[in-house]
Symmetry: C2
Subunit: 560 residues, 2 copies
């Protein structure tokens, strides 16, 4: 039997933290918040069950026979496709609020099914919401049948998950949009090639979702966004299909893929793409450098980003982040540095990087870094193919002690967030990108504004910061906050903290980096872009989706 | 007195090859074509003079006083702004065909002047053609006052050439669009930073022109396009200004700069941009590897492009290319490899690269590579500031014997092309990009089709190939052809060869790489992009430039 996804929480049901783990988590968080006992009662309470909930409303329309064959109204499918997996989604799901569940969920297996769906939805005024891994954080998946819509339909692309062609010479493959990270990995295994794009949602999210949201992966430098790997892309729209030419690079005129990358299901449905692959790394080096002062770690990250060494990992964790992820508990900030190559040993790279970091006051244990050499590609490729055991995902990368801890925590974090929601903790991340000259002020302003907002809304709270990516001209900091929720008030407490964070970020020149726009940031995006650009987006929407059935309200304001 | 640009040929008047050089060139080309004596009579003939030509037509309109103050109708200005510097342009200029000269040339010094110009041109139905360095190859600069236009105006941005702000921490600067390569270099000198974008037109072309045409630079990998250096950009349009947010990276929604990069003056006029800078290299290593078989050189370039070593130079020259540029004359193909860094010695990089190349049969003289270490930034920065002597531009990079020859030739090539035009040689370059799996067939087809077309149109001819950039998934080959012209027939001979080249490239999956779209490739671009994308481009044109005054016929078809 296929593993079942949780209808409300992150990921697979069998990966949801046990009552024991949740009790431990409650103890740790209560201790950190200075509220011993917080959440411990809730850790013992039974988790919500779909069967115990108020039944979902009857579907408001009946699709034609050919679409019924690829669709379902089964409650678990409808509930699990109601939301993405941002904090708001988790809280609403945990509470059993599924009034906006899609009437039907469709699983197309070919492009012709999409054309059928477009025709039906246009004719019957049904809003059509595309769905990949369902891991979005910004309200890109919402089924609001406002005014002009009779109902909503969710189109889940995960049955279109095949690798269609592999070009071993050019290191590229044509892949269907519904393929998840593991599905892509297993199909490419025999070719000795991999799409080395590892977002935190890797286990669940899909190629089409990555392209639609311009998702970032695990590389700290160079290949930070899925867009860096896309050669060409194909998208279906109600007005016809849209395909870009497969080329290594082009400098002729405006880039046509600019209307696909980041289109968030509002302009069309991505069906396949040619993507760039790499050979899996054979040489890897990994180090962790401790800094007594966070600012020195920031300087080291900046120097590394401007060094031309291009580390695959260059993640700076502040003291609370190191504590959260059990990397260190001595108040130090930790910079995780890694290099990898399929072609050559990376010692020269690592030695120079460590010399930069230690010149700025960083401390390393001996040996300063660990080396991992994979002598043959096959065993590693085989290892990559194995399913991760339920309780511990296989790390995607090489490891020092700190790095291993951090990576394990990185992949577990979304599961833990769901568990924290079940304990009544208000907990979320927000991220930004800014140029180096602005970071110190932005960080200070964010720390103060979010601290004040947590105190006002929740009485207390904790904030951590890490760099997920570093560019030569600036970092991409991600912040995580944890605060004690009041039962029933969590969403308004969360909204107050998020608003304070947003205002501080915008006031100090930060921009949105990796979480996409969705419905959550649609008004902010509107303010960031020029009115002239917004008018062209609207024109594109009008031409691709003249009836406005696709993901209404996401990316662009919904038409009444 | 400021150096004067040639009104018809490439670059500065004082750099135009002397009669002696042209005689030598005629001898070399005649020898290579097997037509001794070809062009030698023309090498002795006097060059055309503006004063001896039929006078330009009277301007067809009179601008208001405030615009007259920044404008001119002086014949040298009008003639030298009539064309870009593609082959067609050079032939028409050499022949003295300046019927389409702009009525006025304007030199704005501030954005308000552009607003004035937009208002005037819209009101008076004057076509407005933006002009940076005037070095375009694809007919982006043409002044055709068709039907609805009373006349044309050229807006030369080169008086807006200042570096406005430098952010030394983030390695970035805000620079006005009219700044040429040398103007940017000299203003950044004191900061120990440089915009390391060196197209072949570096001496003349401008930041705005680079962004408008998505120009490629000298880096063979990673930072191949100006777009890789652009943080944010500002563009004026008849409908208002358009500005993107200054960020190191963003993944939120569709990229607004996608409507500016590659807009070719048809959507607006770029006025300034924040661009990413680098410290000038302190360590450089340079090698040239000879291959008896071109195919082995192709394999080596591919392996290097997929190695993760990121050489700054990885240029493969075929035997005729090495002969043309006097790098070798033994029938070998030569791969020029270079690494550079401001941060660390690059020996480990070069040694691995040479091991890849020699494993594939490449031969290197001893010492296999040369190292160039600049111990202090200041002297080098000073050297960069010095104007190149008229007869020999300072090389932009590190040098082996072969590399030095090649680079000198690279920068001289456009001057030599003008000289070849004066000798009656039909000579041009065309370029493409394709994935590695398609290259062998494409190259074979291009070689045969262009060879046949040269034989038919000219009786004989020579074709060379080099890789200008290599991407992990494919190369960007550039072809140069030389054939004997018949006086008066050169343009139809050239057109027949270009058409054959284009058909062969398109039939084998090649795309446009660096020469932009202009008017020359506008119909091809139309075929490459999907009709849905074309309709959005038209919508953008309609919103940014509702009267259609900006560069009509460039990038998009001209409205009647």
């Amino acid at each position: 039997m296929a593993r079942r996804r949780s209808y409300w929480a992150w990921g697979y049901e069998d990966r949801f933290p046990s009552a024991e783990t949740r009790a431990e988590l409650a103890e740790r968080v209560g201790g950190a918040l200075g509220l011993p006992g917080f959440g411990s009662a809730r850790a013992q309470a039974p988790l919500p069950k779909l069967e115990a909930m108020r039944p979902l409303a009857e579907p408001r329309y009946t699709p034609p026979r050919e679409l019924r064959g690829i669709g379902t109204t089964e409650p678990h499918a409808r509930a699990s496709h109601t939301y993405g997996r941002g904090y708001r989604d988790l809280v609403r799901g945990f509470r059993g609020e599924f009034d906006s569940a899609p009437d039907w969920v469709f699983y197309p297996t070919e492009e012709a099914h999409l054309s059928e769906l477009f025709r039906f939805c246009e004719h019957e005024s049904v809003a059509l919401i595309p769905f990949g891994g369902g891991t979005g954080l910004v309200g890109g998946t919402e089924h609001l049948a406002t005014g002009r819509f009779r109902g909503t339909a969710c189109v889940d692309l995960t049955a279109m998950d095949r690798v269609l062609e592999v070009d071993s010479l050019s290191h590229a493959a044509r892949i269907q949009a519904g393929a998840s990270g593991p599905r892509i990995r297993e199909q490419l295994h025999g070719y000795g090639l991999a799409l080395r794009h590892y977002p935190q949602s890797f286990e669940l999210s899909t190629l089409g979702g990555w392209i639609a949201t311009r998702a970032t992966g695990h590389y700290a430098t160079l290949y930070t966004h899925i867009g860096d790997f896309v050669e060409s892309v194909r998208m279906m729209t109600p007005a016809g299909s849209f395909e870009t030419q497969r080329l290594p690079s082009s400098a002729a005129g405006l880039r046509p893929d600019a209307l696909v990358l980041g289109s968030e299901g509002a302009l069309g449905i991505i069906t396949e793409a040619w993507v760039r692959l790499q050979r899996p790394p054979r040489w890897r080096a990994s180090a962790s450098v401790h800094f007594a002062r966070f600012e020195d770690g920031v300087d080291a990250a900046r120097m590394l980003s401007q060094s031309g060494l291009y580390p695959s990992n260059c993640r700076l964790l502040d003291p609370f982040e190191t504590l959260l992820h059990q990397v260190a508990n001595n108040g130090a900030s930790v910079l995780l540095i890694a290099f990898e190559s399929a072609d050559h040993p990376v010692d020269a790279w690592m030695e120079r990087a460590l010399s930069i970091a230690t010149d700025l006051g960083g401390q390393c244990d001996e040996p300063k870094y660990t080396i991992d050499v994979v002598n043959s590609i096959a065993p590693r490729a085989l290892a990559m193919l194995e399913s991760p055991p339920p309780s511990r995902p296989s790390p995607v990368d090489h490891d020092t002690h700190d790095a291993a801890h951090w990576k394990q925590a990185f992949l577990e974090a979304p599961y833990l967030q769901s568990a924290l929601v079940s304990l009544g903790v208000v907990c979320d991340t927000f991220e930004t990108a800014c140029t180096w000259d602005r970071f110190a002020e932005l960080h200070d302003a964010v720390t103060r504004a979010v601290g004040a907002a947590m105190n006002t809304a929740c009485g207390s709270g904790l904030l951590s910061c890490r760099f997920t990516h570093v560019h030569a001209d600036g970092p991409a900091p991600t912040y995580t906050f944890l605060a004690p929720g009041r039962p029933g008030d969590e969403l308004s407490q969360w909204a107050a903290i998020k608003a304070a964070a947003r205002d501080a970020v915008v006031a100090h020149g930060g921009g949105q980096h990796y979480q996409a726009v969705g419905r959550l940031y649609q008004p902010d995006y509107r303010k960031e872009i020029s009115p002239l650009f917004a008018s062209v987006l609207e024109a594109a929407k009008g031409r691709f989706d003249p009836r406005g059935i696709l993901n209404p309200g996401c990316l662009l304001p919904s038409k009444p």
